[in-house]
């Protein structure tokens, strides 16, 4: 009956309800409190609210242009990502082929790489002296390299697609895999085929998932920072770049705060839309199982998409591997060996093993915290009784829309008193990473949670399972798929995070991205080579971890 659902779980789960408040407390303590403190200091320096910074921001043509560019590049990036990822999602949802799960985890690798490294990878691939240009120049006997994309909008878009392809692939492909084939079969019988099948049947069915992916990619590209700064060059600036510039270089905190607020408000509106859309995508599983491609045409389609992924996602990574193994006199492994030497006897030298260890520990702690908090948050949001949860849902995503500088400054002034004096604590890194990683866990667990029919938990309860047993034996296996995706993203976010880490990392516990940046901050071939080598190690560590996380699921929590 309609009413019955409200009390799902019955009385025995009540003691656990209090747990659900923990993520809110976490968010309040480590997000809202620091953020509001820094906003307070910036906008009301002497306790007197001064909104003139807003007037500056609103009236200025410069900021309006910045906002305009931010929106335009985000829209273009989103459209491009979707167009490329859609056929890929179809292939992943529909067909089973060798190496599919590996491919899907590896596609997430792009997500982990620091922008500097990605920039180097793309320059090794399509830069003026990159592999592609060299080949084209040689084949067609050209005077100058035919592909010249440095500091153009085009390269920004390409790299945005590179970063976000896997996000769109996972959201759309995941949703698609749960949709029944029947509609499509009916349409075929009625004579639809080719583009008409896509236009009239597939796209409308996928609408909620496509929109959800679009909003998410839009949010990521809207707040793009490193890509714009390094690949776009100084001619391009997003709001995020401008906030950084105002806060660090010019120390214009009021304007930085005003811009941050503008960004947060815009993003919150989008997240509200996104979370509503995700509600619609939470349909119960139909149990549609992917199958092997049957004929030459289907194989062709699969292979074509794998090739697109290979070119887009793996060619730059491969170029990076090659670059890390190429010295002045050809192939060499010396950059890898050099990583563990400390010729200058520096006190702050960190052997690569230790950097890998630091990164792994931070990433594991982050993953555990994000998975625990994110799952609790998802449970909180899945209790769909109140209007409140509708507003709460996007709130959990807000850390994604907040620039690291703003929050970093907030930490410095807000978390300075015991027991919260965490400014110099190594815990601050996993906390900061968890803030950014938690939304990914929430987003991947929530649909799985909503898809559990309420009767399932109730029947377990009637059959004699206590609240804890229900969670372990029923909920956990059913959300394990979402948990794994969330954990993978959380792990990845932590491994690749640079912005927050650079503010709060203690020099004796640097992470791999920090080591990469440090190496790239010094002249000399060996520094550059070591940076490439460390980047390859970063990818390798992540790739191995993906496989392990995936195994945890198949061998551990789930029977799915």
């Amino acid at each position: 009956m309609r009413w019955g659902r409200k009390n799902t779980g019955g009385s025995q789960t009540r003691p656990y309800r209090i747990l659900l408040l923990i993520p809110l407390i976490f968010l309040a303590l480590f997000f809202f409190y620091p953020l509001l403190t820094i906003f307070g200091i910036s906008l009301a320096p002497e306790g007197q609210l001064n909104l003139s910074a807003f007037a500056t921001v609103v009236m200025s043509d410069y900021y309006r242009e910045t906002l305009w560019f931010t929106v335009v590049q985000a829209v273009l990036s989103t459209v491009l990502t979707l167009v490329l990822a859609l056929p890929g999602a179809y292939v992943f949802a529909r067909y089973d082929f060798p190496g599919k799960s590996l491919l899907s985890s590896l596609s997430t690798l792009a997500f982990v790489l620091p922008t500097v490294v990605v920039a180097a990878a793309f320059s090794a691939l399509i830069g003026p002296r990159g592999v592609v240009n060299d080949a084209l120049t040689a084949i067609f006997r050209l005077e100058s390299p035919p592909i010249q994309l440095e500091r153009t909008l085009v390269i920004i878009l390409i790299v945005h697609v590179f970063y976000n392809y896997s996000v769109a692939l996972r959201i759309i492909g995941g949703f698609w895999a749960t949709q029944s084939l029947r509609m499509e079969e009916v349409a075929r019988v009625l004579g639809a085929s080719g583009w008409r099948l896509w236009w009239h049947i597939r796209l409308p069915i996928l609408r909620p998932a496509i929109l959800a992916a679009a909003v998410l990619v839009f949010i990521f590209t809207f707040t793009s920072f490193g890509v714009i700064l390094i690949l776009g060059g100084p001619r391009f600036a997003t709001l995020e770049v401008e906030i950084y510039r105002q806060a660090t270089s010019l120390f214009n905190l009021p304007v930085a705060a005003a811009l941050s607020l503008v960004q947060i408000i815009l993003m919150f509106a989008l997240m509200l839309i996104y979370t509503r859309l995700q509600r619609q995508t939470a349909t119960e599983l139909q149990g549609w199982v992917a199958r092997r491609p049957r004929n030459r045409r289907e194989w062709g389609f699969v292979i074509a998409n794998v090739i697109v992924m290979a070119i887009l996602l793996f060619a730059p990574l491969l170029a990076l591997v090659i670059r890390s193994l190429t010295g002045h006199d050809g192939l060499t492994t010396q950059f890898y060996q050099l990583l563990s030497s400390n010729p200058r006897g520096s006190v702050l030298f960190v052997p690569p093993v230790q950097a890998i260890g630091n990164s792994l520990i931070f990433a594991i702690v982050t993953t555990v915290m994000a998975v625990l908090l994110g799952t609790m948050a998802a449970y909180l949001l899945a209790q769909r009784q109140s209007r409140l949860s509708r507003w709460l849902d996007p709130v959990f995503m807000l850390p994604l829309a907040t620039s690291a500088v703003t929050l970093g400054f907030g930490y410095i002034i807000a978390l300075d008193e015991p027991p919260l004096n965490l400014r110099a604590s190594p815990l601050l890194i996993p906390i900061a990473h968890t803030l950014v990683a938690m939304p990914f866990v929430v987003r991947s667990v929530l649909p799985a949670l909503r898809a559990i029919a309420p009767g399932i938990q109730e029947s377990a309860s009637v059959l004699g399972a206590s609240g804890w047993q229900i969670w372990r034996l029923i909920d956990l296996p059913l959300i394990s798929r979402g948990l794994i995706v969330g954990a993978t993203f959380a792990f990845t976010v932590s491994m690749g995070e640079f912005g927050a880490s650079s503010f709060i990392a203690r020099p004796d516990t640097p992470t791999m991205p920090l080591v990469i940046y440090r190496l790239l901050g010094q002249p000399g071939a060996t520094n550059y080579g070591q940076a490439m080598a460390m980047s390859v190690l970063l990818m390798a560590v992540c790739a191995v971890s993906f496989v392990l996380i995936e195994r945890l699921r198949s061998a551990g929590i789930g029977e799915f």
């Binding site: 660090t248 010396q334 901050g521 002249p523 071939a525 945890l552």
Partner: protein, 379 residues
């Protein structure tokens, strides 16, 4: 009564779970979680270990470095444990410290340079300390008469050039900033954005000092000429040096002139895969072409351990640290007693006449200058 599930049955149920192959996996997963939780708790326990007695916390930026044995010497002699906090680049570090000055992150700060000096002093970040070792430091480095900050090192932001490019094309090196607008050097120069890069700002300041901000021709006219001569602007030093500059080893860049440091060529040699026959890059240290950056240290106001902070400043001015500076941070020592490594004297030189700008003037005009520059060069 047919409600048969008694507590004993539940206990048996629990026991049963362990012995069923169906549930062993689940326990395995739980075990994993438990192990992770323990790890997290262990991490929590690391923090208090650092709260030892005589600890000095050094707040610095991410380019700070020191040799292990040099620092160990200080710790051994004084019994002070040094904890280093690196918080982003120089600007970020300074801003964080200003925000937290009532309850500072540490005791002593190193890394404020002359472009940020006024901001630090105006915000009363430091308390005065006059180190006895200052007598070995030339007066030109002592920018604060009250000694709230102590100069530690200096470096010059100069143009670097690709030696082989200039040789192969029989091109003469530019000897003044004006010459850079000459068509000879068209499309050869890459510079950093002063809004986001410290050497970029230094180079802008050098042009401002040389061409002025008032009158018919200002630095903006000069920059407009540079733009006509196809100067390339990128956002940060790494991109300029590694991606665009053709002289850095293994680079795919195409520009043989880059704004970098006078010390970059020796460092480039130092980090080559094999010792070269001749240096691949050089720096142009002609008069008025370089901007001098001086880095300072200071005792933070409200420090917990000001005595240790003063000792640390003495230590930084003393010869062992000063001689360690070139190869750790690629800058020059301010103490005249300190010897400079051979590789620095061989592959580089200290400019005889660098550009300097009054720190107060920099701080007052930074935003306006950068904004005007942005309008001229980037729009």
């Amino acid at each position: 009564m047919s409600i048969y599930t008694t507590p004993t049955a539940i206990q048996r149920g629990g026991f049963y779970l362990g012995s069923s192959p169906w549930d062993v996996h689940i326990l395995g997963g739980e075990d994993m979680l438990r192990r992770m939780a323990i790890l997290a708790i262990l991490l929590l326990m690391i923090a208090p270990v650092l709260a030892q007695d005589n600890v000095l916390t050094l707040v610095t930026h991410d380019s700070f470095n020191v040799s292990e044995d040099v620092l160990a010497q200080f710790q051994d002699e004084t019994g002070i444990t040094v904890q280093i906090l690196r918080s982003g680049d120089a600007g970020t570090m300074l801003n964080q410290s200003i925000l937290s000055k009532e309850n500072p992150l540490g005791d002593v700060m190193f890394g404020v340079d002359n472009t940020f000096l006024s901001r630090a002093l105006d915000n009363d970040l430091f308390v005065p300390y006059e180190s006895p070792l200052l007598e070995n430091v030339p007066d030109e480095f002592k920018l604060d008469p009250e000694n709230r900050v102590t100069p530690i090192d200096f470096g010059d932001v100069c143009l670097n050039y690709d030696v082989s490019y200039f040789e192969e094309n029989s091109l003469a090196l530019p000897e003044s900033l004006e010459e850079l607008t000459d068509p000879t050097y068209k499309s050869l120069l890459v510079v950093e954005n002063p809004a986001t890069s410290s050497p970029g700002l230094a180079f802008l300041l050098a042009t401002i000092q040389s061409f002025g901000t008032e009158g018919d021709t200002t630095y903006l006219n000069y920059w407009a000429d540079l733009v006509d001569n196809d100067v390339l602007v990128v956002d940060d030093w790494s991109t300029a040096y590694y991606a665009e500059f053709s002289g850095s080893s293994g680079s795919e860049g195409t520009r043989p002139l880059v704004v970098s440091y006078a010390s970059s060529p020796p460092v480039e040699v130092y980090f080559m895969e094999a010792p070269p026959e001749s240096a691949p890059t050089g720096s142009i240290v002609a008069d008025d072409m370089c901007f001098r950056q001086i880095e300072f240290a200071g005792v933070l106001a409200n420090a917990q351990n000001p005595e240790a902070a003063q000792k640390f400043i003495d230590f930084m001015l003393d010869v062992p640290f000063q001689e360690d500076v070139p190869l750790q941070m690629f800058v020059y020592p301010v103490n005249t007693e300190a010897a400079i490594p051979e590789i620095f004297t061989e592959y580089s030189a200290i400019p005889e006449k660098s550009v300097t700008v009054d720190p107060a003037k920099i701080d007052a005009n930074r935003e306006e200058w950068i904004q005007a520059w942005t309008e001229t060069v980037l729009r």
